[in-house]
Symmetry: C2
Subunit: 799 residues, 2 copies
């Protein structure tokens, strides 16, 4: 993706680009803390009868696997040979060139995939997606192509990747292709009021190294009709750089300065661009002259400065607790890993679960073909899009509605830190994405680990006995830092057959200047408002219960009055009402008030032996229920937020309806490539292949507790799917990790264990301490301009 | 509490009475796994600069502390000296005697307590509550008395404890005082249809040791008008005892047999009691003759038997996972305890939190005077009542609405198992309650522990650095097994200043016979229906934010259309609307749809330096939001369920409105001692001392996954209170458990730690294995009839 100057200005200060020394070749994922001789573990595994091996080969090759470096290289090379595309090497390309931005896998059609996975069909042909920016035109645009089959051969072709779109075309206009011009425009505008800026904000923005301010603004851009013409509008504002002493801290989004200007940047000739006005202290000045006149007037109201300082730092502060220099409890894995990973095929087995992993530039980690006890439960589980929709009394906050796949979750899913991000004993995996004609590998950016969440799965005591079952869960985690926010994604598998999807947010809020902003959030510092916003993150959950012929049913708990044969009076009681969502026309749902209904996906034709259809229940599990946008008709998001307007939506599965959103929708949200609302065509949903689109998130009104960073504890949201009349009993009865203690008045009579060894051995905790100096930074690619001074490690040049 | 025959029948089979060998004196709580020489921990604590000591003395004596054994004994002795009470020693008392059931502390008035705690006032006089059953009358009743001041002296008196009631009197009629008669009545009724019972249910109930069936039914009893008179009605049914091979398992509630009979048991002369009819297969027969005639008729429909078998057992079953005989990860505390406990005063300090604990017969564990950074946040936090409200096509399920404080959470809060219920390194406390004139101590029935919940508090990464903060939480846990269900209660304190209250349920469901019951739940076994029910558990949360002058505000996130000075068109956006709940008349709330509002308690007169009132936010945190009763006008609960009809209620604090419910309401729910609805008097709630009453729970429609036991993972509910504009920044910045890693393109430049040691030392995991044979059973008192063959350990005879 070629970033416009505007976006680059924002990103260069906001997005983390982590680098480290070069390596000749990609290393295999680091096994943390294998310091032979220091970790003493007694030979308990050998003494057990376990035949378990943590190595496994995927039963079939992973057809969802990200493109290999070689595949990406061959696709890029193939495209450069197509002269009609007129491509320039990305490293050399300017705004007026055509260049490849992203290469990724075209996800195989489910139809083909199931034929292959289940019915001995052929392995689906592999195709690449190539996202190309066409700059060599007065009307720059982006377009995606499908290239293949792979490997590239004489029969390989390319064509516009239009079939997964709702607009009919993967083309989208780029109204902001000229980053260099916009940067200069902003500096020129600022220069024209340098005296005012110095007076009001006490700083300068001239383009030099010692600038005080960074200038950036709304995302996405607006289209406004002026004099009967559609114009491209941007509102920008001033953000102060953190001061020298606090420079390490990424707190620029806490430093809005409260001065805004509006520009018409229509077209590629910046000499025709126009300044449309200034805003300061909630007063709009339609010309610089008007603004200057007001500023010079007596009584011009100047607001307080929002200055950097220690308060933007996240280091320890305040009186530490006396007990806190002692190390807290820590989890260990004394007897070895209990899950199996095929690192090549990105295939994982834990207990009765298995699944494939993939990783994309747009949405990061994704799971496919999740099986439970040999049956597919979820065909596809993955993030679709993350909206952060702001409001405020100023145009920049009011105009900001991030759609984060535009930036991508893949590029910013960095290396994780053992002992903090994940337990020290985690199994780490690498991930690769291909952007700006560079294949970039994040080392150790996915962790897999078992853990005990601190409460039991099952317990019961009586006068005779006590039965207790451990609740051991298996977590797959990645974290993407998209600018100011760190999104942590967990997929948690449990012994009861449930799968929980959790998102948590930490990092810096994007805040607002305080002046007259109190209807939009709390004042959180001297001249700062918390800037209220909605986070809505959408997941595709393609559940398949015993095949693809599924139905979505609501089982409602309803109050009723019933006259029973055994009662004299009518009784006020409740019943279970089973209702079916028959059609896409009624398939956009809120979570029920008071939890008064269960949402289920069942295979109505596959009842269990008691006649109850086997199914899975879907429910919110953390952070209250929700989440959908407060603003249902955002003038920023326009037709690009259809997926975010309800808590849960259900569609009939179609190979052409792959994603709820498109990473390029942000370029022109009024004319999106994928408009989720178009998925709803009144199609029948009875016993057909259905897909759920579930939103997580929160209404975030930052308060002082978000200073300096929002904390994960209060910013989390999750949904869980769990077996519902699916098996004939509680699935966790299969585990050995339980104990039964029988007793009577003379004491314990019997301790019954079930072959699950208790943790044993001697563990050298000191040797498990993570070595933070071993953090290698991460492999991130500054996509434009390409900076040859940053030879990103683990990067293989393709072109 | 003297249990009626009816209830005793239910309890004797359902409630666990755990016994073990006698001990001379109460031992101090066991420190788990102190096996000297086996646990090798390097001397890291000594080498640190920590001045922390895990021993502490409470700053003031705990005025909420449960009665001591001596206090209880002196109160009982005092009452026995009051001849007008005509008391019989509980051990010798029959239905026609007056006997003391429970002795407990009368919670001090908040007014007096605050004077003492905050303003150097006198220590509040201690008073005991004595709950006495008056059986020596044609109209038996229970009444509570306030006895004191303590210690008992010449000035001590007793009086009816009426002021904390809404009925004006602590007296309540007992319509079912004659357990012995009802047991015999049930057997007589059964004997009259022994041939039918044998034919339909294939078993007998004669009162002998080898009976197949246990007979019990609705709770509470019904009052029905028959021929213009109020009659006491009970519906009973047959429950099969687990078979010999499965006898250890407490699965009787999975074995309803589908035959029901209705009795009029008005009055104390059972010769005047009447059988009012039979129900089988959803057909009502108003006399035994009618039932017999039908049974003998050709075509009488016999339903399938619901028989015991392996399926009611909770042991491991099915093919175990290959990896599962390896021990899973486990948490250790290698460097010592980081919180302090005054075991005598039941006072706890963890980081910036401190609180007092108490324990009552009715509601178990309770917390008082929770302070954070030296300021009281919660004066009182504790369970009030737990309703389990069933529905079904049969009168027993339809008529069952347990109010569990009737049974009590204290008596059934048994010893916890290290390594399962709580980490092996937990700090355990004992608890004592006084019932049936016996002081009973549960050993190790409260655990306190720190843990890492598996995700961070804070993280942020940028191009320059990575900052990570651990999320260490402190948990106080107890578990009460009230009959078939095990309720686990957690109070979780976090470094961000939040406190989470969690309830989870496991154990056996109470189920229904399957015949024609499909509108009320799922069929979950051959002849079994899951019997849908609502769990509603109410907590009193007496929040005090910077004193008692508080207000409850709703901060709503609302969609609005705004015409801004800087915009040409009206924009669709959102705003924060601050609304105050002004009066008790509007103080009964549901959690907002889509999380669209925040519930806050603030001190409006104590804004922070930015003008935002300092407050705490209250929000649902697990298991979706809710929870209130589906059936708002239950004919079983009548006037006793006021607290359960809304998610959150707010009242003005009054010393007379101590509890939302009364343990004796169950005796006559139409005339409860405490009717929560009476707390609402249109009183003003602005800047006054307010109390929140918050419900947790779930609508539980058991499915096959609840067989044999419901699992905690999908049966949990929680609310969290967290600082909201309360401090000037994120409170977790105070912890040392964070790291900052600075890097650039040449690698890590700086690892900044903050004095928090990393876990270190060598831990012998084998030595930490819990010794399940050391489980002592628990100290439970069979209150009636008193069984001299069970010399409950740690019990001190009082009378």
């Amino acid at each position: 993706m070629i970033l416009s100057t505007l976006l680059l200005a924002a990103l260069s200060s906001l997005l983390p680009f982590t680098t480290a020394g070069p390596h000749a070749r990609l290393k295999s994922p680091r096994k943390w803390s294998k310091k032979p001789g220091l970790v003493e573990i007694l030979s308990t595994i050998a003494s057990s009868n376990s035949t378990f091996s943590p190595a496994v080969s995927a039963p079939k090759p992973n057809i969802f696997l990200s493109l290999s470096d070689d595949e990406a290289a061959s696709v890029i090379s193939f495209l450069h040979n197509q002269t009609e595309l007129n491509l320039t090497a990305n490293a050399d390309a300017g705004p007026w060139d055509n260049a490849i931005e992203v290469v990724d896998l075209v996800q195989p059609n489910k139809t083909d995939a199931l034929a292959y996975l289940d019915n001995g069909g052929p392995i689906p042909a592999r195709y690449a997606m190539a996202r190309i920016s066409f700059g060599a035109t007065e009307k720059p645009y982006l377009q995606e192509f499908m290239v293949g089959p792979l490997p590239i051969s004489k029969t390989s072709t390319y064509e516009s990747l239009d079939w997964p779109t709702t607009s009919g075309s993967s083309k989208i206009r780029n109204y902001n292709a000229d980053d260099d011009l916009l940067t200069q425009w902003n500096l020129d505008v600022t220069a024209s009021v340098a005296d005012i800026v110095l007076d009001l904000l006490n700083g300068t923005a001239t383009g030099s190294e010692d600038d005080d301010f960074d200038i950036w603004g709304i995302d996405p851009l607006w289209m406004e009709e002026i004099d009967g013409e559609q114009r491209v509008i941007v509102w920008n504002t001033y953000w102060r750089y953190p001061s020298d002493e606090d420079a390490v801290f990424d707190g620029e989004t806490l430093l809005p300065q409260g001065l805004f200007f509006k520009s018409d940047i229509t077209g590629r000739d910046s000499s025709k661009w126009r300044l449309l006005g200034w805003l300061y202290g909630d007063i709009f000045y339609s010309t610089t002259e008007e603004f200057r006149k007001a500023w010079k007037s007596p009584g011009f109201l100047k607001y307080e400065l929002n200055l950097p300082g220690e308060w933007i730092g996240s280091d320890q502060t305040g009186n530490p607790f006396p007990a806190d220099d002692v190390a807290p409890p820590v989890a260990v894995q004394p007897n070895g890993q209990r899950f199996a990973v095929d690192e090549t095929q990105k295939y994982v087995e834990w207990m009765d679960f298995s699944f494939y992993i993939t990783f994309t530039r747009d949405t990061g980690l994704r799971l496919f073909d999740i099986k439970y006890k040999g049956e597919r439960i979820i065909y596809e589980l993955g993030l679709q899009e993350a909206i952060a929709n702001y409001a405020g009394n100023d145009p920049v906050q009011s105009g900001t509605s991030y759609m984060d796949t535009f930036y991508g979750f893949g590029p910013y899913a960095f290396e994780l830190v053992p002992g903090y991000d994940c337990p020290t004993y985690s199994h780490f995996l690498n991930s690769t994405f291909h952007a700006a004609e560079i294949s970039t590998t994040h080392r150790n950016n996915i962790c897999l680990f078992e853990s005990d969440p601190g409460y039991l799965m099952q317990r019961h005591s009586s006068s005779n006995y006590l039965a207790l079952t451990k609740n051991i869960v298996f977590t797959l985690r990645s974290v993407s830092t998209v600018g100011n926010y760190d999104y942590s994604f967990d997929y948690v598998f449990a012994l009861d057959g449930s799968i929980e999807t959790i998102v948590r947010a930490s990092g810096y809020i994007q805040s607002a200047y305080y002046a007259k902003n109190n209807n939009y959030g709390y004042q959180v510092h001297d001249a700062l408002s918390g800037s209220m916003h909605d986070h809505v993150l959408n997941w595709k959950v393609d559940i398949d219960v015993l095949g693809t012929a599924n139905s979505f049913v609501e089982h409602k708990i309803i109050p009723v009055n019933v006259k029973y044969p055994w009662a004299n009076q009518t009784r006020s009681t409740m019943q279970l009402e089973r209702a079916r969502i028959e059609n896409e026309a009624h398939a956009r749902l809120s979570w029920p008030q008071n939890g008064g209904a269960m949402f289920l996906v069942e295979n109505s034709d596959k009842p269990n032996k008691y006649g109850e259809p086997r199914g899975y229940k879907i429910a919110p599990s953390r952070g209250g229920s929700g989440m959908y946008l407060t603003i249902q008709d955002s003038p920023n998001l326009l037709k690009s937020a259809g997926f975010a307007k309800h808590a849960v939506s259900i569609t009939k599965q179609k190979d052409t309806e792959v994603r709820a959103a498109h990473a390029n929708n942000d370029y022109d949200p009024g004319h999106p490539i994928i408009d989720f609302d178009h998925f709803f065509n009144d199609e029948n949903l009875n016993q057909t292949d259905i897909v759920l689109w579930i939103n997580l998130g929160m209404h975030h009104v930052p308060h002082t507790g978000d200073m300096p960073n929002t904390v994960f504890t209060t910013a989390q949201s999750a949904f869980i799917i769990s077996p519902h009349n699916y098996l004939l009993n509680d699935a966790s009865r299969t585990t050995r990790q339980m104990v039964r203690i029988d007793y009577n008045s003379t004491g314990v009579q019997l301790v019954k264990e079930f072959g699950g060894k208790m943790a044993s051995g001697v563990v050298n905790i000191t040797a498990l301490q993570p070595d933070f100096h071993a953090y290698e930074g991460d492999v991130a690619v500054r996509k434009f301009p390409y900076d040859p001074l940053h030879p990103f490690n683990d990067t293989e040049s393709i072109v």
